[in-house]
Symmetry: C2
Subunit: 481 residues, 2 copies
């Protein structure tokens, strides 16, 4: 869908948001004035006012692109969001529901009657309904299913049969199929008769009688070759296609690598099942990278900026509780050395440094390995050389950072033995950090697990415990008489 | 460019990589056998062997897509990468250089003579040369500039005039412009005469005599409207366009929001300067999200999996040294309380818990705010409600996590006073963490800085120092007689 030139600027959106909030506050004020006013015809006045408010909001939002409405809804606090959504949910045929984030969609849907929801969502395409399916209550879903024709229902069921990380779950059905025994003139006439091409159509799919994909006909070729030529002579037979059960991550990489706009999705027999489109891939990549960042920061799932405090709290407690556990566990090591600390209390000030630096350095290693694994660049053929390189690097890092830390503690405490212990502990803990930062992702990957999940928790737990143990252990060997 | 259906699978790439490595090792073996053999005609035999090796590598790689070759090169250790690149750098007209990551490109270019490089890169389009420009030595760049015609040179200079974060730096020139006083039949005839459309062409740009963009003509409309209609009647006048000096991040969001394939780029007077294309946007989003992850982990810039140990070390030291600084600074606080620790050594075991949990919780808050700021969802209109929500959440978190920690220490030490101090310290430090995790990104954003950079370092430094200070301070008030 195309939109006015100014629509895409961030300022425009902020300006719209400001206007909406001003409007809402004005309406709130009007409402409270009526409530405080004389009680005659009270209900009538309030109903009229409510209608007026709804109309004003509808007028304001009717001109906006669904994606922009979604963005404004996401930026509104819960109560204002609900007021706006009540007024405008029939606009744009449910497209707004598609554009909002998962967390915000739940807040919108939770306030709707099953009938309303079925009316709104029923206007969407099968692949779009599939995107919403997880958030739609069962009763509304049944209503929607009943309103679909048999082809749409088949499409919807086809998508719902696949898991979120499979290509089938991301496909749509906006494809034009043609046979290879027609000439280009006939194809152009066919398109003209259709009157409309699905969005993002950059190629037509050439299929045989069994619906198996034989080739693709880019619009480019359709437009540049003589109309008398036959599809079979002009089509491209060397093209990228995807299997329904293939991993979405792999498909996304292929879109980036081969600069695709659309590509056919086929089943095991090569039969055309649907189409993958770059706009779904773009959304997928964005969601995935957002998710990675949030996982790193320990926020469970995507959080709505204004989801209820209670919901946000529960979303963050999982990670915090795990951290309470690992923090208590690793500091138990310190308990073992309490008499050492009593003899040299400076150790208490210095030990967190050794622990923290181990975590930082291990994180650097593990993040690079996790990314290289995701890019498919780590293979049995080169993993030994990679390990060798990272170990060499750890020795170099350990020497350098160890010496810097030794020097700094020398400046602070003028105690050579203490400084030597600091340097040695730092050196050993950085080696431990690299072995762990390398080992956890590689092992998880080897056994088919996602190498990113949990790596940083386990890593920090180990580098903390080992940092305390190595430092206090060395201190008890060399510093305490 | 289209490629064979199997090309995009990860297994296929891993298999190719394995084959290349086997081939290289075999060649290495042959070479060493010749060197150890009888010395007659030694040089002749070695030259012949070298030629043979080169040919074999060229045959192997000629069939692969440039993006796949790039991926294999990135997975090879430095010496093997150099051997392969020596043999194949003339293949695919420099496209491989475009596809490899920045770090790997530098290793490839550093081994090439200026003449070679100019020959290879000279075959690329102006916008592609611009992508490489930062990595090409001055002498080779001058050679390349001399080999371009005046239009290409103008294009190249146009792109180089913009900064990396501006739309102008990402544009290309693969656009077809038309006038609005022609009919569609004439346009179709024009395209047929051109014989080829630039890749990703989904629309033609309609310009006036001064090159100002008046509208766009999607190929879809060209194909579905009667050939006798005029461009002026069929074109879309409500379309997304970008300014050359606009932020790339904003443009990427617009591509996602409005599902664009291509869009015109104009200057301040509305004159067409170039085109933005979804494949560049896809690469941009991927690079940006990779960068964000690496910044979070404290890896300076993108690192080649097999860049030299020395280079990797320098890349990681910056962050580690900053951390040494903040770690020393925050543990100085502990030094102030050494006599307290001597009186109750258990405090040494417990204080890292308070510090670490503050950092974790603050990170959760700051990451959500940073992401919402990037999405443009935090505005002056809603920031107060957002702050109120996060503070309420912090109180809730503080009570819950504080009580959990108090309980755990009660179980460990059976000391009520100590447990109460733990709970209070945890509660206060979580409040500090949220204020800081909220404050730093918001303030940085307010003053036009990137809210993501450095937030986690400053945050951890503050939550560590404050954690130690609050806990040991409360202990000295309530636990020490």
């Amino acid at each position: 869908m195309q939109s006015s030139g100014k629509l895409h600027s961030a300022q425009f959106l902020q300006h719209q948001l400001q206007e909406v909030i001003t409007l809402l506050e004005k309406q709130q004020l009007e409402k409270s004035l009526v409530q405080r006013g004389p009680a005659t015809n009270y209900e009538l006045v309030e109903t009229m006012l409510h209608k007026q408010h709804q109309t004003r909001l509808q007028e304001k939002f009717a001109l906006l692109h669904p994606a922009d409405i979604a963005s404004i809804l996401e930026s509104l606090p819960l109560d204002q969001r609900k007021t706006v959504w009540d007024a405008i949910h029939t606009l744009h045929d449910g497209q707004v529901l598609l554009e909002v984030s998962d967390a915000v969609r739940q807040t919108l849907i939770s306030g709707m009657e099953p009938e309303e929801l079925a009316t709104v969502a029923g206007k969407l395409d099968a692949d779009e309904i599939a995107d919403l399916a997880a958030d739609i209550p069962k009763r509304a879903m049944l209503k929607i299913l009943r309103s679909l024709n048999s082809k749409e229902r088949k499409h919807l069921n086809a998508i719902l049969a696949y898991q979120e990380n499979q290509v089938g779950a991301l496909m749509d059905f906006g494809m034009i199929t043609i046979r290879d025994d027609l000439n280009l003139k006939a194809i152009i006439a066919y398109i003209r008769k259709l009157g409309k091409l699905p969005s993002h159509t950059d190629k037509l799919f050439v299929v045989d009688q069994l619906d198996r994909v034989q080739g693709i006909l880019p619009l480019q070729r359709l437009l540049t070759h003589p109309p008398s030529r036959y599809v079979a002579d002009v089509m491209v037979t060397d093209f990228v296609k995807f299997q329904v059960d293939q991993s979405t991550i792999e498909a996304a990489r292929a879109f980036e690598r081969y600069d695709l706009i659309t590509a056919p999705v086929v089943d095991n027999e090569g039969k055309l099942q649907g189409r993958l489109c770059v706009d779904s891939i773009l959304d997928f990549i964005r969601e995935q990278s957002d998710e990675e960042l949030l996982i790193q920061a320990g926020v469970g799932e995507e959080e709505d900026l204004f989801s209820s405090v209670w919901k946000s709290a529960k979303n963050r407690w999982g990670w915090l509780l795990i951290n309470v556990g690992t923090a208590f566990a690793s500091t138990r090591i310190i308990g073992l050395f309490e008499d050492i600390i009593l003899q040299l209390v400076t150790l208490a000030s210095l030990m967190p440094i050794i622990a923290a630096m181990g975590g930082n350095s291990g994180n650097q290693t593990s993040m690079l390995i996790i990314r290289s694994l995701a890019l498919g660049q780590v293979t049995p053929a080169n993993v030994h050389r990679l390990i060798k390189k990272e170990l060499t690097l750890a020795v170099l890092n350990g020497l350098f950072i160890g010496l810097v830390i030794g020097l700094l503690s020398m400046l602070l405490y003028q105690d050579i033995a203490l400084s030597v212990v600091m340097t040695m502990a730092m050196f050993i803990n950085l080696l431990v950090a690299v072995v762990v930062g390398l080992g956890i992702p590689l092992l998880r990957h080897k056994y088919g697990k996602d190498p990113a999940v949990g790596t940083s928790i386990i890593l920090t737990a180990i580098t903390d415990s080992m940092g305390f143990f190595i430092f206090l252990g060395l201190a008890s060997l060399f510093l305490i008489k």
